[in-house]
């Protein structure tokens, strides 16, 4: 690894000295991905900036720094209720997805790998169906079950999305796990449940935490299915932001956006500390 880095550096130096065309190409490439990087992050940073505006316009940079819209947000009962709804739905989704995803990932370990090959497309299929279609399907179905516009219906919709993700994360975690320990526990006369609790659980705790956090954030940020399935009383923060946005735009939406983005960091930091960043990027 270090050797190849050294070689690359050495080559870069020679290139810079001897081949101007290469240098131009390198600069062009840097400009290209730099532009993409800027286009990806700048809009979000500008939104954070506008949340500190003093007046009701969305000028950037703000004319006058102020926290007045944060105060506005914290004293608005509609936003507070949406916030409570979001936390409730995300927590329930996390628990349900962890149970479904982890049991499946645990059950599939060590099994003939062909079953995963068949299962993978089946589990991934829902990701290719437009969320609006899934939303409509569930509107019709939940109405028939009498669950339309309840918390339950939104938790179920979010779990359809989050459980497969938990499954994949847990599968990756479990594939690094030492199965002989569990087999030893079984050989020593433990029940499968005891083997799981005493031999497997301590090893995969951090993996479960990471998967749970990912499920939580997925539910917190999901918007289209929640838009169709919620009522005024059960709407989540993104849904309320959407309806507010379509009526009237003011900096309070920037405040809400900033808080939603902040929640991503709150969740990401422990995961990145537990695992490497590269690992997280490859799981999603």
């Amino acid at each position: 690894m270090i050797e190849s880095t050294k070689r690359r550096l050495a080559r870069r130096l020679t290139i810079a000295r001897t081949r101007p065309r290469e240098t131009v190409e390198l600069i062009a490439f840097r400009l290209l991905y730099g532009a993409v990087l800027a286009a990806m992050i700048a809009p979000l940073l500008i939104i954070v900036g506008t949340s500190f505006n003093h007046d009701a316009t969305l000028t950037f940079p703000p004319d006058q720094f102020s926290l007045v819209w944060y105060q506005e947000f914290l004293t608005d009962s509609r936003w507070m209720r949406a916030f409570a709804n979001s936390l409730l739905i995300a927590s329930a989704t996390t628990v349900l997805s962890l149970v479904l995803g982890t049991t499946a990932a645990y059950g599939i370990q060590g099994v003939d790998s062909r079953i995963t090959q068949v299962l993978l497309p089946v589990v991934l299929l829902p990701l290719l169906i437009p969320p609006v279609v899934i939303g409509i399907v569930l509107v019709i179905y939940m109405s028939m079950l009498g669950l339309f516009q309840t918390y339950v219906s939104i938790v179920i919709a979010h779990t359809l999305w989050a459980a497969p993700l938990v499954f994949f994360v847990m599968q990756a975690v479990l594939s690094r796990f030492d199965w002989q320990l569990r087999d030893a526990a079984l050989d020593l006369g433990g029940t499968p449940l005891e083997a799981f609790r005493h031999a497997a659980l301590p090893q995969i705790k951090s993996g479960i935490a990471a998967a749970g956090l990912i499920a939580f954030i997925i539910s917190l940020q999901e918007f289209i299915m929640a838009l169709f399935l919620s009522s005024y009383a059960t709407q989540t923060v993104p849904v309320l932001a959407w309806s507010a946005l379509r009526q009237f735009i003011d900096p309070i939406i920037s405040v809400v956006s900033t808080i939603l983005m902040l929640s991503i960091f709150v969740v990401l930091v422990p995961i990145v500390l537990l695992f490497s960043f590269d690992w997280v990027a490859r799981q999603l």
């Binding site: 290469e22 490439f29 939104i47 099994v111 437009p130």
Partner: protein
């Protein structure tokens, strides 16, 4: 396709290997998916065959009227053409921005790599509402981008919002993080020494990229293409918020049928048509890729 035989064989092998209990652990998720995903889709198909009703959501009965209405309506044909055109433009733009970015993230190390990856992950996890709102703010007449364009071109007022341009920007902004990670996750499995070898043998950087990286990245690029295309077909938030009434996609029309007009059979029929179109496009794409003899690596 011998999928079912494969599953049966695998299950048998698994039972022989580990006993019955561990596969039972798969039951909860399969049951959940069946009850809340598979069955609802059958109900959707059934709903699309009901008669429409002016006063309620639907009338019981079996008819193909909804399909006939939708497929013969020139209004829907317009939506179809618009949705497809947008999806193709979005897919091309997404690939053009994602491939260099994923490549940069793969070849970079240390801080640069972390910044590049962190940006993608944060963007991916940010709710769609915030992402679309950001572009409303940026592209609005008083927004940063409009101001910059005005100053640069000397034009008085450039209309950047509520048009096709804004819709494409919005959808690319939604899909790009997923496309980048799909390509990135394939790139990391390529042996970097291969590129060093190509460079040592005198290839230029673009040539090394074209001959070594690109062929190996095909599975990732294929996944990115599929995601970009299918998600723009189903795009809802971007056309509603960033487009005008003439930027209407399938998804917007489905919502119109089901929520605004309370016409469930039409909404269900259009949903079924969208799903069919998505899967026919996928099959056609994989057939095309498969003919180039690389599709085997996909799944």
């Amino acid at each position: 396709m011998n999928g079912i035989a494969d599953i049966a064989h695998s299950i048998q092998a698994a039972i022989d290997q580990r006993g019955r209990t561990s596969l039972l652990l798969l039951a909860p998720i399969l049951l959940f998916k069946t009850i809340f995903f598979v069955i609802p889709f059958f109900i959707l198909v059934r709903m699309s065959l009901h008669e429409t009703d002016q006063s309620g959501a639907y009338n019981p009965g079996v008819t193909l009227d909804s399909y006939v209405d939708i497929l013969s309506s020139s209004f829907i044909h317009g939506i179809m053409a618009y949705t497809f055109r947008t999806a193709i433009v979005v897919t091309i733009v997404t690939l053009l921005v994602s491939i260099p970015y994923a490549h940069a993230a793969w070849r970079a190390d240390g801080m640069t790599k972390n910044v590049l990856l962190l940006t993608v992950v944060v963007s991916l996890l940010t709710t769609l509402v915030v992402k679309m709102y950001a572009w409303v703010v940026l592209l609005s007449p008083i927004g940063v981008v409009s101001q910059a364009v005005n100053r640069f071109t000397g034009a008085d007022q450039v209309q950047l919002l509520n048009n096709e341009f804004a819709v494409v920007v919005g959808i690319v902004y939604m899909v790009a993080p997923y496309a980048i990670l799909a390509i990135y996750s394939v790139l990391v499995s390529i042996d970097e020494d291969l590129i060093d070898a190509a460079l040592d043998l005198g290839a230029s950087r673009p040539r090394a990229f074209y001959e070594v990286v690109l062929p190996n990245a095909v599975p990732g690029i294929a996944v990115a293409t599929v995601l970009a295309f299918t998600w723009s077909i189903g795009a809802y938030a971007a056309p509603v918020l960033l487009g005008s009434s003439s930027e209407r996609t399938f998804a917007v029309q489905v919502e119109e049928y089901v929520i605004s007009q309370f016409n469930w059979p039409h909404g269900a029929a259009l949903s079924v048509i969208i799903v069919v179109i998505v899967f026919v496009s996928l099959l056609a794409f994989f057939a095309f890729i498969g003919r180039r003899d690389v599709g085997g690596e996909m799944f």
